[in-house]
Amino acid sequence: MPYEILEKKELGRSGTIYEMVLRTPLIAKKAHAGNFVLLRVNETGERIPLTVADYDREKGTITLVIQVVGKSTKLICNQNVGDQILDVVGPLGNKIHIKRYKNPIVVIGGGVGIAPCFPQAKELRDAGNEIITILGARNKGLLIWKEKMKTVSDELIITTDDGSEGMKGVVTDPLKQIMQKRKISLVIAIGPLVMMKYVALTTNGLGDLPKVKTFVSLNTIMIDGTGMCGCCRFSTLEGDIQFACVDGPDVDGHIVDFDNLLKRAGRFLEQERDSMECYDEECRALEQLKKEVI
């Protein structure tokens, strides 16, 4: 079954983030906020997890937002409209629990993690919740889906590390201010591990701020996405083991042992670098060949 790329566009101004729309009618029919897919570009490719950032059940499409961080994400982003992706499996993971909460929900997206926030904010707002959104990025050029997030937020706050847009600082700054002023029912944080760790530390009730239930979305390394390999496992602070693919990917941020997870995330660094170098070399050779042919 081929999975065709129907649309592709660059997001932000960093040249590293792309939005792609894929034709996957069956997945589109079943997808919900919180789900992800595993995608393999070609025969030699690896299976990588990407969140379903939007879906259109009628058109039979899903939207992915991908940041180039290594070989596989680069390979995907080098594909163009009309190209086929070899394998797309999903929808995987648990959909988020949708209900009407008493107080507002704070949705925090960091970097490319902003995209997966969209369906969550949308479905929760459709259920009658008040959504306060905080978007964080290193700089203005890396900020994505601002307008789209506006459409599903009652209030939108932006932070950048360098102050090139919105508040200068990190997402936990406005979060603290909000928590001091108002009662919050739920916090959802999706972004880099370090960001999610600090959000969880802010809301765990161990400091001066009240405890607020917090969901984080774990982006561990995965293979099958069905609980079969244990590659995506994470440790809770109490030492229990859970699997991100079937117990998550959205999990209670207060139980996650982030320090261990950060160390696990780096376990293939050497191989990832080799893989990237080989691919870059291949791309250069191909460019050279094209030039010579012309």
């Binding site: 079954m1 069956l26 997945i27 079943k30 393999r40 030699t44 490719g45 690896e46 299976r47 070989k71 596989s72 390979l75 070899l86 394998d87 797309v88 499996v89 999903g90 929808p91 995987l92 293979i223 099958d224 069905t226 609980g227 079969m228 390999c229 244990g230 590659c231 496992r233 994470f234 440790s235 030492g239 083991i241 079937v246 042992d257 261990n260 160390k263 696990r264 376990r267 293939f268 191989q271 990832e272 080799d274 893989s275 080989c278």
Partner: protein, 491 residues
């Protein structure tokens, strides 16, 4: 030896007069040994270890068969292949008929010839086993399947006329593939839904290339496609489609063969250290994702200098031997029982020994110890002794207090078994499961829900390829009976 057999009245009863007279003759010949790649060379490649039999070897081996009147081997085979008949055809060099004879009972001989535990099945039952030299039935089975492949034949049995009734198979492991084949031959319109991007189940993601070349599985699936079986990959039932969806799509019966794929992890301290991984992860990376060809293939696998594998089954042995081929300097297998209780195929154990794998029996892990970067560096183990038999009939290992010691290691692979994957069964709440999450069926493979059948590891727990195939076949017969009664006889 000969005397012993004659004394054994039961066994001589089962010998025909003809075979008795041949007994002396067959004793002069010895069981054939298969050629293998030299252990020193084979640990540097992923090519097949055993090289198969030559025609001359087959000639010698088939002469040894007594052609018993009441053959015990057939009942030793979970799918009752007509073993003496196919051996006789082989002896007459009628290879094509020999192939048909096997395929009538077993569509996947190239696979079974390689991975079945013959020593506990047909070859154990073989009358010549009493002299310790049973006919090499597995080798002969493999020979004929390889002959088919070498001659580029793809023999598949005749199919009955199409009945226009759709059946869905969930899972393309040996159980699902066999069930699909049987149903297709009976004229049913079969579609297999498989979670992965390739079929074969454990055969493709678990068992390594050097034991079962993946090309063989591909061909066996092509044979099914010749029978008009449709393959839908990347389809996790319970996620992308539910049982209700399948019924809405017009499938009149459903077979569940989703295996028991969930790894059991040792709940001991240090489990979340880096380079502690399940055999499933390690083998899936290497086999299905072809990490042994990284960076040509994108999936990486990391291998340390000293790899320790925990477990005593095929999974543990496959992991250990794969680690060796990926460049580990030393590979140790730690198993809590003794050599005699090891559930692995005997031949694989011998191969592992030849390859230099170190075995530490009656040894059980206590904890994994890591360095400052959370990379594993040591494993603490404790010595065990065998106590009273447990429910499996094997003697239960008990700890010898105070016998703890440390093993230096930088990669730990846990291969102590698997359990049921709940993804599908959770999506059918009314399906009856036992307390371990395996599906309950009757003797026809029928579950408690009408039209839904099941078989293989998801019913029995981890077993063998051939038992899964046997279950697939049995369920296919159950499905045929069900569909005939419900849809065909009424017409």
């Amino acid at each position: 030896m000969k005397k012993k057999i004659e004394e054994d009245s039961k066994s001589s009863n089962s010998l025909s007069k003809r075979s008795k007279s041949k007994l002396t003759n067959s004793e002069e010949l010895h069981r054939i040994e298969m050629k293998q790649q030299d252990p020193k060379i084979r640990i540097t490649n992923f090519e097949e270890v055993s090289l198969g039999l030559t025609e001359e070897m087959v000639e010698l081996e088939t002469q040894r068969c007594l052609q018993c009147g009441k053959p015990l081997c057939i009942s030793g085979c979970p799918v009752n292949i007509k073993i003496p008949q196919f051996i006789n055809l082989l002896k007459e060099k009628n290879f094509i008929e020999a192939l048909y004879k096997i395929k009538a009972d077993n569509l996947l001989p190239a696979i079974c010839g390689r991975v079945c535990p013959q020593e506990t099945q047909c070859e154990q039952a073989c009358i010549l086993n009493r002299q310790g030299e049973p006919i090499a039935i597995g080798y002969l089975e493999r020979f004929i399947a390889d002959w088919e492949r070498k001659n580029n034949l793809k023999e598949c049995p005749e199919c009955a006329a199409p009945k226009g009734i759709k059946v869905a198979i969930i899972g393309a492991g040996p159980a699902g593939l066999t069930c699909a084949g049987e149903l297709a031959m009976n004229g049913y319109d079969v579609t297999i839904f498989e979670a992965f991007h390739a079929g074969g189940g454990v055969l493709i993601y678990g068992i390594p290339e050097f034991r079962l070349p993946k090309d063989i599985i591909k061909r066996e699936i092509e044979t099914l496609e010749m029978l008009n079986v449709k393959m839908e990959y990347n389809s996790i039932i319970g996620k992308i489609l539910t049982i209700e969806d399948l019924r809405d799509m017009g499938f009149k019966a459903i077979f569940i063969g989703v295996g028991a794929g969930l790894p059991i992890l040792l709940k001991i301290p240090g489990l979340s250290l880096n380079s502690v991984l399940s055999a499933n992860e390690f083998l899936t990376r290497s086999n299905l994702m072809k990490a042994f060809r990284f960076p040509k293939y994108d999936t990486p696998v990391k291998i340390g200098k000293i790899v320790t594998v925990i477990g005593g089954g095929n999974t543990a042995l496959d992991s250990a031997r794969t680690a060796l081929r990926l460049g580990a300097e030393k590979v140790i297998i730690v198993y809590r029982r003794s050599e005699a209780e090891m559930p692995a195929r005997k031949e694989e154990y011998h191969h592992a020994l030849e390859e230099g794998i170190e075995f530490q029996f009656l040894t059980n892990p206590v904890r994994f110890i890591g360095d400052d970067n959370d990379n594993v560096s040591q494993m603490e183990v404790i010595k065990m002794k065998l106590g009273e038999p447990d429910e499996s009939g094997r003697r239960r290992p008990v700890r010898i207090e105070g016998s703890e010691y440390l093993i230096d290691t930088d990669t730990i692979i846990i291969g102590i078994g698997t359990r049921a994957n709940p993804i599908l069964t959770k999506s059918i709440p009314e399906l009856k499961l036992n307390k371990w999450g395996y599906i309950e069926t009757d003797e026809n493979g029928q579950t408690n829900i009408e039209g839904i059948f099941a078989g293989g590891d998801i019913v029995t727990g981890s077993a063998t390829v051939i038992t899964a195939m046997g279950a697939g076949k049995k369920a296919a017969h159950g499905i045929v009976k069900y569909l005939q009664e419900k849809y065909l006889e009424k017409k």
